[in-house]
Symmetry: C2
Subunit: 339 residues, 2 copies
Amino acid sequence: MAVTIYDIAREANVSIATVSKVINNSGRISSPTRDRVHKVIDELDYRPNLLASAMTSKRTYTAGILIPDIGNPFYPDVIRGVEDFARQNNYSVLLCNTDDNLEKQLEYVELLKQKSVDGIIVAAVAASPERLIETLGDSLPTVVLARRIKDPNQQITFPSVVVDNFRGGYLATKHLIENGHSKISLLGESLHIESSQERMRGCIQALEEHFLALHSVEFCTRNLGFEGGYNATINLLKKTSPPTAIFADTDLLAFGGMKAAKELGYRVPDDISFIGFDNTALCTIVDPPLSSIAQPMYELGQRTMEILIGKISGLSVPELTVLDISLVERQSVKRITDV
Amino acid sequence: MAVTIYDIAREANVSIATVSKVINNSGRISSPTRDRVHKVIDELDYRPNLLASAMTSKRTYTAGILIPDIGNPFYPDVIRGVEDFARQNNYSVLLCNTDDNLEKQLEYVELLKQKSVDGIIVAAVAASPERLIETLGDSLPTVVLARRIKDPNQQITFPSVVVDNFRGGYLATKHLIENGHSKISLLGESLHIESSQERMRGCIQALEEHFLALHSVEFCTRNLGFEGGYNATINLLKKTSPPTAIFADTDLLAFGGMKAAKELGYRVPDDISFIGFDNTALCTIVDPPLSSIAQPMYELGQRTMEILIGKISGLSVPELTVLDISLVERQSVKRITDV
DNA sequence: GCAATTCGGGTTAGCGCTTACTCTTGATTT
DNA sequence: AAATCAAGAGTAAGCGCTAACCCGAATTGC
């Protein structure tokens, strides 16, 4: 069997309590004793069994993270941020893909509870989280990522970390306007998604500040990705008055849009400009490289984990953290000089 | 506090042993007793504490997975496969990004051991795994994904699940040949990577079967991604005799290559054809859509987890599992008719 | 009809730690 | 010099389970 705290105690001629104290740097131990114990620990290559430790101390140093689907290019960076911050604080993270399915979410929360995780990160949870809130309860530290959960009863609130989607929409549109565009259309994901709504609001705000109106709008129907963007853009461009620039809710949508435009004989960006959202790695790969609004995804993950650990440790944490967003210019937006 | 097995025992008028037996479906319990216990469990909404359970049963139903970086588009699907299979078997997975850094790998293995995981999946481990093997030891069930670990001392071997890279290289090249190409160049990742070597071997084999030779080769130097592909392709095309088709080790490399080709005035696929490897989601997004060799990434993850659980359960498992590969045709390869 | 099983369950000893509490000394206070 | 106290270490009670073992009663075999 593996070496236990008893082995160390015996070899160092102390009690297991003493060994425990030197390991956890608690209680009072004289330095000779401390050194002796450390020496034996090194000699026997002892590693405390974290399971046993968790049994008594009630801390597993493990957190769970619920995300819709790791296949969505939005998440890998976020997760990386979460995991890096976790590791730096001796935490591990249990990954749970829920496909935005309530049953799976509930199942996972129960499982994580049974595994006694110290806390949970809930990313991009569905619109009606009543049951999720209920099973989460108020005893398990939870932080919400990229969404806000509003409990209808105001019973329980969770700290959330989000990105300023409104400002993102604003920046994107302003960039288009500053490049001389006035016929600006919105290629939206869905009006049922909060972030999508916010981006649209930002877009409209920028437009209004310049006494402009949205030229046209199109939302995705079935598919919310590349294909959806393709189809919606076809609609946008086939209208009697097509736009000169399109602000897409998502890079993926923009990619689909660019494909549609090209197929309809438009040159990008000469005939039509595009700007995306998310600044995924793919932006540099497509032709032309897509200008996009960058979300600090890695930082999003990091901050969320930081807040979670804070909450676990009993610190008071901010109820809402809004991360800033920025414009990354590439070659998909053309300056229009003629009026 | 949460309800424990003692509460159930008391309410159901049985001993905790009996409760444990009905939970785990072990031992002999009469159906009246079983029903009574179940009823109380439901009433009190009891969930066994898996930590405590693991202490005695020595099974945590948790596995660790070491990957280089979740940001690499190769992994999300793999992980999804791992996680889905895990969940179906009551397992959870602890995600560990190692950046291919030996120190991080060792650290994580130690941590996972301390957390008493039942097994570990090691994905795409570095070339010289001696120290990793050493810390893994032979007591912790381990399965290697997308690599084979050859222990120089033949002391310990790990089951591995890989993809038939040789056949992939062969298929890609054959596809090019069948489309009339004879000036075929290889855009390789690195000769230090086993999969890269295998793909090249397959490529050469296909060529030889048609009495052809590799037209030229170029490997990446600093950057192994988009940029590396871009630079290497510039070299390839600036030679006195440029190829008519390029087989890239990786989709990302092919994307970089396509960009380089376009910039040098080539039309893709009219002047030069490209075929990639990995069949990432991006293939449909670029222009033209990239033909590629598809690896069954999800299945790769699934099978690996299946084998790991098998090993944990003491079953005998295959030492080597090779998954098949297939060609996905899109529009980046042009048929050449003139000789 | 009596020994041998089987059935249905209970007792109890841990798993490897943490922690509240206790005890012994030697130093400090007054 | 008696009382007080802090430092340094030990004792022991769990944490919530599992599993080996035990035991009486019912069932079986011959």
